[in-house]
Amino acid sequence: MDEINSLMHGFSVALTLPNVGFMLVGLLLGVLIGVLPGLGGANGVAILLPLTFSMNPTSAIIMLSCIYWGALFGGAITSILFNIPGEPWSVATTFDGFPLAQQGRAAEALTAAFTSSFVGALFAVLAITFLAPLLAKFALEFGPPEFFAVQMLTFCSFIGMSKEPPMKTLAAMMFGFALAAVGMDTVTGQLRMTFGFTEMLKGFDFLIAVIGLFGIGEILTTMEEGLAFKGKSAKINFRVVLNTWKELLQYWRTFIRSVLIGCWMGITPGGATPASFMSYGMARRAAKDKESFGRGNIEGVVAPETAAHAAGTSALLPMLTLGIPGSPTAAVLLGGLLIWGLQPGPLLFVEQKDFVWGLIASMYLGNIVGLIVVLTTVPWWAAILRIPFPVIAPVIIFICAIGAYTVHSSIFDVVMMLVFGVFGYLFKKLRYPLAPLVLALVLGDMAESSFRQSMLLSQGGLGIFVSNWLVGSLMALSIFLLLLPMWGALKAMFRRREARAYLS
């Protein structure tokens, strides 16, 4: 009951008029930041952080965390409307969100995305409120082998995802790994595959690749196919929201699964991006009509969005209790805590009650207010698709270019974005899947370091991956997921052979 009392106290802190004002400002800014690809929650918070030094820490963190919620909400908008993921964790949302928009169901997809985000966040905040001390300890169990096991699990849950031939999937994934390997190798401190070009030092940033591959690639394809958005007949009507809600109720299983994956990945801290991919993969595996995934299945929007938001929210828990950020944005907020004179760590909950519970209360309020704000804007966002393509396309390209530039303030990145755009177009024409490439680019780097750190720890012994119950069960689960589709294929093969034998 202690938590309830503290939470009520928190609400009294968060519900003061200036704090509600900061909340609204933060949310609106956040949605805008989320919509602009490349700017991203981390950059947005970093830019605004110095402005908050003269504010009191509670108001400051309320505003900044609301920017974070807003960006989480906003990231879905461009993914669904234009196939441009504004944030890494909205990549999985494009898989089904964009086909839905093309079918004229953009408003439904947006409503599903926002609602899922809200549900994910709400359950994550509940977890933070009541299980904080317990969950914080769990995060400490994670060393390099455990991290590698989690990344392995993400890859394995994605196996068999693509409808394209396995060799094409493999080729795309290897290309992603190769791109991820460019730049500094953190384990040896050496530069790799830069071929003496100083521009290559920083490697290929995920966001630039994604903006190019998805955004520019999509525009090139649309230009070829006749300068029109397919989704322009979108229904623009507020009743869509209510109808979609009704439809969403039947996906309660997906919601629960995604919330669990999300909370777990946020706390460990695996992060929102692997959470969204893993959740999408799991949803597809669990679904009866696997074929409809990737062609506009609402469930394919629900799963990644719920998990991403649950992970993004619970990522704040290890930051507050241990001082390890679960996401880049949390890392910037962490810097903020130090500057406001608050030391994150096990004592924050004891020493700064007002601050911590004010923040937690603002998570509840921020998400409720955020949901209302974004839902009311659904018809407007959907209406963008009615603007003629020749008008909106240059605007999108312009926004993409700004986005690519913002990541490192470098013109070279804008050129890279265009190159990736051509790649995206070629991939589409040659029917190579983009998702494995992107997954490898995001997780390749992390998986590689965790694996090599584990190898250093064990002096080269693979036994470290079964050395305790946690890593052992994670590895067992990933191998099970890896073999599952093969088992299915094997069974189908035998059945066919039997049938053939029977026929002859």
């Binding site: 030094f53 400490l140 060393g143 530069l191 241990l322 950020p325 500057i339 004179g341």
Partner: protein, 331 residues
């Protein structure tokens, strides 16, 4: 019309106000503050803190904008500043990668390419173990490493062939045994790996591990500064930063501090350098700065001009020696 008149009036007033320093150079557009490291790390925190207090106390007429250029262990940031000759609207904050990155990777860059402005502070390094471990003093720990076979003890640190790795090599020398070094991306991750007992020790900066020390999870064994730290305010119930003995006194010949200094692009004029020196002198007088220094238990040395250049040259020579011994220099 009215607006222009007001603007002219304000301009005139400003000119009058600035009259005593009429000759002095001042930024005429926003100043870019390059951080050759990722968001959230020690250098980034300091840069954003400076940006915040400078804005709060209106110490600059133009905004100071922090830009992270962390690619290639900071080479991206240093090369950018090197390539911006004669641009006085760009400054960079350093960490030890000022020397270690070019030495380890062969990236064509040396601090002599830049214009030194001033030292802000020196960051300290402390040898930490988990509070549940049996090692109460640095001597105990060293003896345990000596008694065990090679690679038995594991040290987590930030980056590879950078400051934490160099210190690990110093410890190895002192113990005469190999220590397994495991690189992580940031100091916060490193501290948590030690709290979770995945490694045996770290050499975190004070600010990275302070919360865990206060929370009773970590134990400091010794500090790499030749002198004990000056901060006597209690951090835990019994101990303050000043109570941590030096590593030297425990028989570990490891001394290391990290430069947090400011540089400008090549070809900066003396009055431009003087402007920034003056700016950071003003910052040092602020109570917020003093509080920040105490929190991170920084060594508050401040140097400019020739003194600073000489210090950097000596520090570079030290790194060349250390890295040569460790076999970290790129061939």
């Amino acid at each position: 019309m009215k607006l222009t008149k007001i603007a002219v009036a304000i301009g005139a007033a400003a000119a009058l106000f600035a009259a005593p320093a009429a000759q002095a150079w001042e930024p005429t557009k926003p100043v870019e503050f390059v951080v050759p490291a990722g968001t959230g790390g020690g250098a980034d925190q300091m840069a954003r803190f400076l940006q915040g207090v400078i804005a709060k106390h209106k110490l600059m007429a133009q905004p100071l904008v922090v830009v992270n250029k962390s690619g290639g262990a900071g080479a991206e940031g240093f090369l950018e500043v090197k390539g911006s000759a004669n641009n006085p609207h760009k400054i960079i904050i350093t960490l030890s990668n000022l020397y270690t990155t070019p030495l380890a990777t062969g990236v064509p860059f040396n601090w002599r390419d830049l214009t030194p402005v001033s030292m802000l502070a020196l960051d300290e390094f402390v040898l930490w173990v988990n509070a549940d471990s049996p090692y109460k003093t640095a001597k105990d720990y060293l003896a345990a490493i000596k008694a065990a076979p090679d690679n038995k003890f594991k040290m987590a640190g930030t980056g590879s062939k950078q400051e934490d790795h160099i210190i690990t090599v110093m410890l190895q020398k002192a113990a005469g045994k190999k220590i397994t070094y495991i690189p992580f991306k940031g100091g916060g991750d490193v501290a948590v790996q030690l709290v979770g007992k995945h490694v045996d020790s770290t050499v975190n900066n004070p600010i990275e591990a302070e919360a865990h020390w206060r929370g009773g999870k970590l134990r400091p064994l010794c500090v790499m500064d030749p002198k004990p730290l000056p901060y006597t305010a209690k951090v835990t119930d019994k101990l303050s930063w000043a109570d941590i003995p030096t590593c030297k006194s425990a028989g570990i010949d490891a001394e290391y501090v990290m430069l947090r200094g400011i540089f400008m692009p090549p070809g900066a004029a003396p009055d431009q350098v003087a402007y920034y020196v003056d700016l950071f002198k003003k910052v040092r007088e602020l109570p917020e700065w003093k509080e920040f220094m105490a929190k991170g238990a920084f060594n508050q040395s401040f140097m400019t001009g020739k003194e600073y250049t000489d210090w950097v040259a000596k520090n570079e020579a030290l790194h060349v020696g250390l890295m040569k011994d460790a076999g970290f220099i790129a061939k």
